[in-house]
C-alpha cells in the first residue's frame, strides 16, 4: 500500500479515522493540536461527517467523547498533558463506567516544556485509572495503536490511552494505512446501570475494573508492542519505553544492541517479560521519556539491590526530554568533541507578532499601573498574551493554569490587594475562566478582568474560539453589571481612551470586565489571503 508522510499526531488521527471513528473531540494544546486539525482536513472525515469541532475545554471534550461511546459509536478525545488535569474527573470515572463504543484518549506530553507549564507524565494517569496505555515509538506504531486501540477498547470495555511526547507528535515519517472500517451503529449499553456511578453501583463497577487487571497484564505479555530482544552481554538489561527505544538504537548503527532489550509500547508492564530481563541480567537501565515511572516501580522504595539505573540515580538526567546523546552517555559510550557554538550567538525568545493587539493592551495597562506603587502585580493566564511577562512589557506576574488569572486575582483581592487585576484571553476565558468570574460576582469582589479578545485560540495556530461574539453576553449573563463591561479596540490611536477606561474600572469597587477586542493579526492576514485566493480563482 502507498506510503504517506505523517506527523505522529496525524498518524493517530488517520488511525482513528480508519478504525471507524464517528467523532473526535479536543481543545487545542501543543503538542496535541495537529490530531484534530488533521481530522478537520480529512476528506473521509468530511464524507462520513465525523464530528470534528473544537470543544470549550478538555473536560467537555472528553465527556462528549464518552457520550458518543455510550451511544455505541467509536470516538477519540485528544489533549495535551496538562489538559488531562482538566479532564481528570471524567477520565478517572470513565475507567469505572467502562465504555460502549471504542474510546481513545490521546494525550501528548511535553517533556522539556517546549510549550508548557510542566512536564508531567500522563502514564501516571493511565496507571491511576487502571486502564491500558499504548505508547508508540514511531509514526507507524502511532497509526497502528490508534487503529487497533479502538478494538482493544471495545474488547475490554475500557477507555484506552495513547501517550505521545512532543518529539513524536511533531516528527514526520512514512506510514502505511490499513483498510477502512465501517462506523458502528447506534446501540445503548446492554446494562442500563453501567454508567450510573451511585456508590452502590460504583463499588460493583470498580470491582469489575479490578477484576480485569490480571487479564490486562496478560495481554501486555502477548502484545506485539512489547518485544524482548535477546542480547549476549548479560551484564546489563535495558528496558526502553516508547520513543526512548529509538534513542537507544541510534547508538548501534548496525541495529544490534549487545544487551538484552525489552521494548515497551503497552502498559500495564508485561509481567513475564520484566521478570525475564530481571532474572537474566546483572543490572537494569531504564530509558523512558518523562518521569521515571517504570524505574521507580522496579527499584522499589528501599532500593536495596541498587541494580536499577536511570533518572533516579543520575545515570540519565532527572528532568527534560531524552536524546541520542543522553542515552549514549548513559551507556558509557560518551560523546565525541563537537564544534563550539560561538559566544556571540544571542538568545531569540518568542515574542509578540508585529501588529498584535495584546501589545497595545499592555502599553495601556503599563501606563495605567504607573500611578500605583512600583511593586504592583497583575495576574495572568495561558496564551500568546503570556509573552507580556517578558521584556519589554513585563506587565504580568502569573501564569499557572487555564483560568487561574481571575480566581487568583479574586483570592488576592480577598487578601486586601488593590487593584486586583487579571489578564486572560478569550478562548482561555471560556475554557476555564467563567466559573471563576461567577465566584467573584457572587461576592462582588473588587477585581478588574481584562479579557484580551483576539477572537481566536492564537498560540496553538488560530483555532476557532468558543468565546467568539459571546463575551459580553456571558459576563452580563452571570451577573456582571452591564455598566462595568467595557469594550474597546486596542490600537495605538486609542491609547488615551484605553488608559481612561482601565483607570475607571480599576477604581470601581466591584467586578468589572474590560474587553479590548481586535482580531489576531495572524488569523486576519490569513483570512485576507484566503479571500484574495478565492477571488482570483473565481475570476
Amino acid at each position: 500500500m502507498e506510503k504517506i508522510l505523517l506527523l505522529g499526531d496525524e498518524a493517530i488521527a488517520q488511525g482513528a479515522i480508519d478504525s471507524g471513528m464517528s467523532g473526535m473531540y479536543a481543545y487545542p494544546g501543543t503538542p496535541s493540536t495537529e490530531i484534530m486539525e488533521f481530522v478537520q482536513r480529512s476528506e473521509v472525515a468530511k464524507e462520513r461527517n465525523i464530528h470534528r469541532k473544537w470543544s470549550a475545554n478538555e473536560k467537555t471534550a472528553m465527556e462528549a467523547s464518552l457520550g458518543m461511546s455510550y451511544a455505541g459509536k467509536r470516538s477519540m478525545v485528544a489533549m495535551k498533558h496538562v489538559g488531562l488535569n482538566v479532564a481528570a474527573d471524567v477520565f478517572m470515572n470513565s475507567a469505572i463506567t467502562g465504555v460502549n463504543g471504542g474510546l481513545l484518549v490521546a494525550v501528548a506530553d511535553d517533556p522539556s516544556m517546549h510549550s508548557s507549564q510542566n512536564e508531567q507524565d500522563s502514564r501516571y494517569y493511565g496507571r491511576f485509572a487502571l486502564i491500558p496505555i499504548l505508547e508508540p515509538s514511531n509514526q507507524q506504531e502511532a497509526y497502528d495503536m490508534s487503529y487497533e486501540g479502538m478494538e482493544l477498547s471495545e474488547k475490554y470495555n475500557l477507555p484506552v490511552m495513547i501517550r505521545l511526547t512532543t518529539r513524536l507528535s511533531h516528527s514526520r515519517s512514512a506510514v502505511v494505512r490499513m483498510a477502512m472500517r465501517d462506523e458502528n451503529e447506534i446501540s445503548y449499553p446492554a446494562d442500563p446501570i453501567q454508567f450510573v456511578l451511585l456508590p452502590s453501583n460504583a463499588r460493583q463497577k470498580y470491582k469489575v475494573l479490578l477484576d480485569k487487571l490480571a487479564e490486562l497484564r496478560k495481554i501486555s505479555d502477548d502484545s506485539k508492542y512489547n518485544t524482548y530482544f535477546e542480547g549476549k552481554d548479560k551484564s546489563m538489561g535495558i528496558i526502553a519505553c516508547g520513543i526512548g527505544y529509538n534513542y537507544l538504537m541510534e547508538n548501534y548503527s548496525n541495529g544490534q544492541c549487545p544487551y538484552p532489550v525489552l521494548k515497551i509500547g503497552q502498559y500495564p508492564l508485561p509481567t513475564n517479560m520484566v521478570k525475564k530481563i530481571d532474572e537474566e541480567c546483572e543490572k537494569l537501565l531504564i530509558i523512558e521519556e518523562g518521569y521515571p515511572m517504570v524505574e521507580e516501580l522496579l527499584r522499589g522504595f528501599l532500593n536495596k539491590e541498587k541494580r536499577v539505573h536511570g533518572r533516579l540515580d543520575g545515570t540519565i538526567p532527572r528532568a527534560g526530554e531524552l536524546n541520542p546523546n543522553i542515552i549514549s552517555a548513559a551507556l558509557g559510550k560518551g560523546n565525541g568533541k563537537t564544534l563550539q557554538i560561538p559566544k556571540i550567538v544571542a538568545n531569540r525568545p518568542p515574542q509578540f507578532c508585529s501588529g498584535c493587539s495584546h501589545k497595545d493592551v499592555y502599553e495601556a495597562l503599563n501606563e495605567t499601573m504607573k500611578q500605583f506603587s512600583s511593586d504592583q502585580r497583575v495576574f495572568s493566564d495561558i496564551g500568546c498574551y503570556t509573552l507580556g511577562a517578558l521584556a519589554p512589557y513585563k506587565s504580568i506576574h502569573t501564569c499557572v493554569d487555564m483560568g487561574a488569572s481571575i480566581t487568583m486575582a479574586k483570592g488576592a483581592a480577598d487578601a486586601g490587594v488593590r487593584p486586583a487585576i487579571a489578564v486572560i484571553g478569550d478562548s482561555t476565558f471560556t475554557h476555564s475562566g467563567i466559573t471563576g468570574l461567577l465566584d467573584a460576582v457572587n461576592e462582588n469582589t473588587p477585581i478588574t478582568v481584562i479579557i484580551s479578545d483576539n477572537s481566536t485560540t492564537a498560540m496553538t495556530g488560530g483555532q476557532q474560539s468558543s468565546a467568539y461574539a459571546k463575551l459580553e453576553d456571558i459576563c452580563i449573563g452571570i451577573g456582571v453589571d452591564p455598566d462595568h463591561v467595557r469594550v474597546f479596540t486596542p490600537l495605538k490611536k486609542y491609547h488615551e481612551e484605553m488608559v481612561k477606561v482601565l483607570e475607571e474600572e480599576i477604581e470601581y469597587e466591584g467586578v468589572s470586565v474590560v474587553i479590548p477586542r481586535r482580531e489576531c493579526i495572524v488569523t486576519l492576514t490569513k483570512k485576507k489571503k484566503d479571500k484574495k485566493k478565492k477571488a482570483n480563482t473565481e475570476v
Binding site: 503538542p31 510549550s115 541510534e250 541495529g255 498560540m459
Partner: protein
C-alpha cells in the same frame, strides 16, 4: 546513503516548507525519512529548528545526535551558528547572509561573518536578494534549499517533484516561482563550491 540535515531560522521564515519539500523528494526516492519540527510557542518570532534525516536504511532517532549533521541549512546568519554542535567536521553550513534582527542584542555582522567563515565548509548567499532578482521575494527559503541541494544525495528532479507536491494546492504560479527559486539557489551554490571540496 545517509544525509542528516538541521534546518534553522526564525519562526515564520518557512523552514518547515524546506523540510517538507526535502521529505517529499526523499519519499520520491523510496528513502527512509524522519523529520522533526518545532510547533507552538517558539513559532512566534523565536528561534526554530527542524531535524531532517534521510537514509536508505531505517532511521532510529527523530533527533540527530550532536556532531553528526551533514548540513545545516539556515535562513538567517546567526541561527545556523546556534546549532553548530550538531555539525560534523566535514559538514556544510549553507546560510543566508541577510539577518533578521528582532532582538536588541543581535551580534555585530562582521563578527558573525568571521564565525561563519571559520567553518571548514560553508556557503553564504543573500537569498533574499536572489529571491527578489527572480521576482519571487517570498521564496527565500526555497532559494536556500536550492543552494543546499548539491550536498543532499537526492536527484535534482526529485526536489522539483517535492515542490510540486508541497505548493501544488497554492496554484500553478506559486509552484513555478518556487521552481525558479530552487534553480537560482542551486546555480549559486554550484558556482561557489570551492574547488577541491567534497
Amino acid at each position: 546513503m545517509k544525509t542528516d540535515i538541521i534546518l534553522a531560522g526564525v519562526g515564520g521564515q518557512g523552514i518547515l516548507s524546506i523540510a517538507a519539500t526535502i521529505a517529499m523528494a526523499a519519499l520520491d526516492n523510496d528513502l527512509n525519512i524522519k523529520q522533526s519540527e518545532v510547533h507552538g510557542m517558539s513559532q512566534r518570532g523565536g528561534a526554530v529548528e527542524s531535524h531532517l534525516r534521510v537514509s536508505d536504511k531505517p532511521v532510529a532517532s527523530d533527533l540527530i545526535p550532536i556532531g553528526q549533521a551533514d548540513i545545516i541549512i539556515s535562513v538567517e546568519p546567526m541561527e545556523g551558528l546556534r546549532y553548530l554542535s550538531y555539525l560534523s567536521d566535514e559538514g556544510w553550513l549553507v546560510t543566508n547572509s541577510k539577518p533578521l534582527i528582532n532582538i536588541t542584542n543581535y551580534p555585530d555582522m562582521d563578527e558573525l561573518n568571521t564565525e561563519i567563515t571559520k567553518i571548514k565548509n560553508h556557503i553564504v548567499l543573500d537569498s533574499d536578494k536572489i529571491a527578489l532578482q527572480i521576482k519571487s521575494p517570498r521564496s527565500t527559503n526555497i532559494v536556500m534549499l536550492g543552494a543546499a541541494s548539491p550536498f543532499i544525495d537526492i536527484p535534482y528532479k526529485s526536489f522539483e517533484i517535492g515542490i510540486k507536491k508541497i505548493f501544488g494546492s497554492k496554484g500553478e504560479s506559486v509552484v513555478q516561482l518556487n521552481l525558479d527559486a530552487l534553480k537560482a539557489g542551486r546555480e549559486y551554490a554550484e558556482a561557489h563550491i570551492p574547488v577541491g571540496s567534497n
